[in-house]
């Protein structure tokens, strides 16, 4: 990706004593729509940035730009909105699942800047400028990714609710460990749970996918 999308505009005039200004108020004040500012304007707006505390954002919604599966998307969120909730509730991306919502199950696993993370435990506002990959981006041509295919071949799901997270975790694991042993697979996917207990299918699925991806299958 090219330039880092700008952070939301921050209130330079009223810092630092006033923290709960309205979104409408500060957007009008800065004379821009959509919450997008050039980095240059931000720099010049505050000559003494190093001396002062930076201004705060929110708590009302602000417009942020997320890079989702290679495409930039704008969405208005409060600072407290998690990336998971922004995707599911604001952007209609329901492939990423909300189960425990406490970073303890793996159903919301997504790949952020090449590393697996729990979307329920990342603030959407923190995810700006990062490359976010979800299950929706895994089959852009409508074809199965080798990992998804291996999950089907090995009957690696029952109810299927943990599957999108598992597939993302497996895909990232294989990218980082192209030639895994069974023990590596068990350790490498330790951050995901399947309450149906389909691990007996998931283990061979990951090994099969790893072999296929090494053999030149599409490594999205």
């Amino acid at each position: 990706m090219s330039a880092k999308p700008p952070r939301p505009p921050v209130d330079r005039e009223t810092k630092p004593k006033r923290s709960n200004f309205s979104r409408r108020g500060f957007i009008q004040g800065l004379g821009v729509g959509g919450g997008v500012l050039s980095g240059g304007l931000l720099e010049t707006a505050l000559p003494n940035a190093a001396e002062a505390a930076p201004a705060t954002i929110g708590p009302d919604p602000v417009t942020i730009t997320l890079r989702l599966n290679g495409k930039s998307t704008q969405v208005a969120v409060e600072p407290r909105t998690t990336l998971l909730d922004a995707l599911r509730n604001r952007l209609g991306m329901t492939g990423v699942k909300r189960v425990c919502d406490r970073g303890a199950c793996g159903a919301c696993t997504m790949i952020i800047n090449g590393k697996v993370m729990y979307g329920c435990t990342v603030l959407a506002i923190d995810a700006q400028g990062k490359n976010i990959e979800t299950i929706e981006g895994l089959a852009p041509e409508g074809k199965y990714h080798p990992v998804s295919e291996a999950f089907v071949n090995n009957d690696a799901q029952q109810c299927g609710f943990c599957t999108p997270g598992f597939v993302m975790a497996a895909k990232n694991f294989i990218d980082l460990h192209p030639d895994p042993t069974l023990e590596d697979v068990e350790k490498g996917l330790g951050g995901n749970f399947c309450r149906c207990g389909t691990y007996v299918g998931i283990r061979p699925a990951v090994l099969e996918a790893a072999k296929k991806m090494k053999g030149g299958a599409r490594n999205a």
């Binding site: 952070r7 630092p16 923290s19 709960n20 940035a49 190093a50 002062a52 505390a53 930076p54 201004a55 705060t56 954002i57 929110g58 708590p59 409060e78 600072p79 407290r80 998690t82 919502d101 406490r102 970073g103 303890a104 793996g106 696993t109 590393k115 697996v116 993370m117 729990y118 329920c120 435990t121 990342v122 603030l123 506002i125 923190d126 975790a169 694991f173 068990e186 350790k187 490498g188 996917l189 330790g190 951050g191 749970f193």
Partner: protein
Amino acid sequence: MEKFSYASPKTVKETVALLDQKTNSNPGQVEVLAGGTDLIAMMKEYLATPKLVVNIKDVHELHGIRPEKGWVSIGAATTLDDLAENQMIRTKYPSLYEAAVGITSPQIRNMGTVGGDLCQRPRCWYFRNGYGLLAMDNGKPLVPNGENRFHAILDNSGPAYFVSPSSFGPALVALGAKVKAISSSGAREIPAAEFFVKPTSETQREISLKPNELVTAILIPENVGKNTTYEIRERQAMDWPLAAAAVDLKMNGGTISQARVVLGHVAPTPFAATAADQFLAGKSIDEKTAEEAGRQAVQSATPLSQNAYKVRLAQVAVKRALLQAGGKA
């Protein structure tokens, strides 16, 4: 989660200014957000209700591992994964490496940070369910006669019964590490053994960090002995240890000249097992010595109604840590 304002400073100086201006009157009004693996869950449970959240992930100075005059400095925002992937840490400080990979969820290791491991709140289920850090109900402690199977077996005469949740804590105390912190009143270095404290009142925290202070790095001495961490947990993945032991053994040939044995997850702070240290001095590492050192380490244990099993686990953790450090495991 309550609403909060958000700031994302780029420098330590900006961070300190943000922490200072709001916290002077009211602790808990500003929270530092690093990996978020504890804070975001705490906010969802309304156990943390800050007015301002300060993201420090974009503060460049807080990242990275580098030598610093006889010490190795590990930036507070360094992720657990970055620490575990560092070859120097792996070879010279296996106690830190083992503790990092003991956090058995790759996602948590990719998100969580070294500073966050030290500052995370205890996992005590009374605390997490709103009974407070000391788990009191009408002035009576709930833990001694309650569900205490995961609670402290050492240093547990009250009022704190929770166990220190830090994975690095025992290793840092064993290695003689220091925690670097900064606030508007200046920077200071806190010996790891003093960083973790046993609170005596509900208003006190389990770490000695002041509300307006930021952990910037941990400092590990360059001169360390054979060290490792051994953790025992119920599940192989996504679980906190039930007991852990970190050891640092300074050797003189085949003999231990100085031993530091520190237990984790068995007391409100990392527990320095000085009886085991004394026993090990002048001995060589073998199965029998390791076994006896384990016994010595837990000799002052006072288990609660449901957690006597942890005494045995801590004892075995010490034995296995010693054998692992000595290359005899």
